[in-house]
Symmetry: C2
């Protein structure tokens, strides 16, 4: 485990700020053109020093999927791409596989069958290592099935449709990187309003998070708040059912559900949402999409820098290169107490 040494940074960084970002991708992320999301993932994982653990377990096309992402991540500059492919809970106890997660700076879980993925890794040393990796600052990303598994409660499978109906979907337990939430993906494209609304109707303490294709919810810790920023082509839809009225506890068979008073947030690229207070961050208080990218990179760089200083394993020129990459003194959510970026 590569936790940064306490005291390695000049200010007292609360432990939550050492957490790496989550990247929750709604599937079908652009792999050919701008590659906005995948670029962000590699950059946040350390760019040319990224060591990426790639988990294709959800997919039935394991080898091909590994080939595609391996080629992509290397093309985008990653130093190393290491497949981690447990096919049983037994495999997920293998210290070699766990070791790869432990030294990764970025973890990427592919699409496929999230119930297979969760059934194999949740509650195993490998699953625990993913949770720990985020705590020590690694990026945890996943697309489609790899997005679903990140929430505490996971859509196992179900049917599409805009109207919430009893029994239209099933819930299983996910990795819990996002607590008190359920994440759904391909949200617009597969018309999954209804099933996400069904789940939050039955569990009104959960936030429902629906992510469109080629769209990413980036979740970062800022102090004791979890902030969600949207990246990509579509939108992230959030259902907050905290004050809802529902008949989900008594609705029969597959009848449409009553779900009244759900607060809906539809968030396009650049929108920022405070998952802790469940409110939109006003645009004037908000870090722009571009700034957010810089912040992510800067955070990452600063974290590396702190680690490197502690380990004294880098030449001064490497440090200079890194500092140059942060593009000036704006580590908005890093150790610098002058937080928050002014609008440009």
């Amino acid at each position: 485990m590569q936790l940064p040494e306490p005291g390695a940074t000049s200010s007292e960084e609360p432990p939550a700020q050492a957490r790496g970002p989550l990247m929750i991708i709604g599937g079908a992320e652009d792999k050919l053109r701008r590659r906005t999301i995948l670029n962000r993932f590699v950059a946040a994982s350390g760019g040319t020093e990224a060591r990426i653990a790639l988990l294709p377990t959800a997919s039935s096309l394991g080898d091909e999927v590994v080939e595609v992402y391996d080629a992509l991540f290397r093309k985008l500059g990653a130093a190393e791409v290491m497949p981690v492919r447990p096919e049983s809970r037994e495999d997920a106890h293998d210290p070699d596989l766990v070791g790869i997660i432990e030294k990764a700076t970025g973890i990427f879980m592919t699409g496929g069958n999230q119930l297979k993925l969760s059934a194999i890794i949740c509650g195993t040393p490998l699953g625990d290592a993913i949770v720990a990796a985020r705590e020590r600052g690694a990026v945890v990303a996943g697309t489609s099935a790899g997005a679903s598994i990140q929430s505490s409660h996971m859509v196992a499978f179900g049917t599409g449709g805009a109207t919430a109906k009893q029994r239209m979907t099933q819930v299983a337990a996910g990795l819990g990187l996002v607590q008190s939430a359920v994440i759904d993906q391909h949200f617009d494209q597969r018309n999954r309003y209804g099933r996400l609304l069904m789940i939050v109707s039955q569990s009104p303490q959960l936030l429902g998070i629906g992510v469109d294709e080629d769209t990413c919810a980036v979740v970062t810790s800022q102090g004791d708040h979890e902030m969600l920023t949207v990246l990509g082509r579509g939108a992230v839809t959030i259902f907050d059912p905290a004050r809802m009225a529902t008949n989900a506890y008594e609705a029969k068979r597959s009848s449409p559900l009553l779900a009244s008073g759900v607060v809906l947030h539809m968030l396009p690229a650049g929108a920022q949402f405070d998952l802790t207070t469940r409110t939109l961050v006003k645009p004037e208080e908000q870090v722009s999409d571009e700034d957010a990218a810089e912040v992510l990179e800067a955070q990452r760089d600063l974290r590396h820098l702190a680690r490197d200083i502690a380990a004294a394993d880098k030449s001064p020129s490497a440090l200079r290169r890194r500092l140059a990459r942060t593009r000036g003194p704006r580590p908005a959510h890093g150790p610098d107490p002058q937080d928050g970026a002014a609008p440009e």
Copy 2:
């Protein structure tokens, strides 16, 4: 115009209560089996004394549509079915056609192209006669296009999809039977969340009302409140954007919209919603679906009875038959001050 004589009923009925109900049907209403919605329409229009004006103008299959509904309404007991088929604004000034509307107890507008329907009838004597018919107590019903046209703001056309995107739909002016609202239909089946949300994002003073297929929003006036009750197989979805934050005034091209803080109500059969206060009517305060049917019929019957007494044109046996049909003294929202039905 057949306005009931003032003083014809024993108590002072406020003018709003003389209004007939609206029946806003999301398309594809069941015509073969239980026919819940169509049955309700014929009953509310007076049952065996219903004189139904049928407007197939939205449809490109005018004659066939007339045949189908004519046969259906007669089978369900209507006394008369009178086609009213203006094919131009000129036609919509024809006193003969307007006369049919004026003597109808129920008006039914078919599906098809709502922009054709609105372009032909809105702002003509025929369109005005439909609005006036409701004020004097006639039922105004419409399915699909015939539902859309009932709101003040009408979805003209657009594309499907769950995520709201700029320019995905166009708005035109409707009949305005439901003010400060926009109605969409085939809501679940054609995945119209996005476009309805786009419209309310651009016009946050409007309530967005999405009606599923084989589902009906029955709107009645109760004092100075407009109440919506759901009938049928699907749900009615309501977006209340009053407190939303949005970027719809500046979003470019077809980009996904920000729409944060929209209050969502998904209402299955039996649910009741106060359109005036924009709140769910709690189940314990609510008139059950069955009771609502009786109330509608009883209201109708009482209104007829009052008219008949005033006109003294009925035999005592006809009056007795009618009274029997009201199934006991429960005119919950009629002149009887003992309002509200006890659960059975």
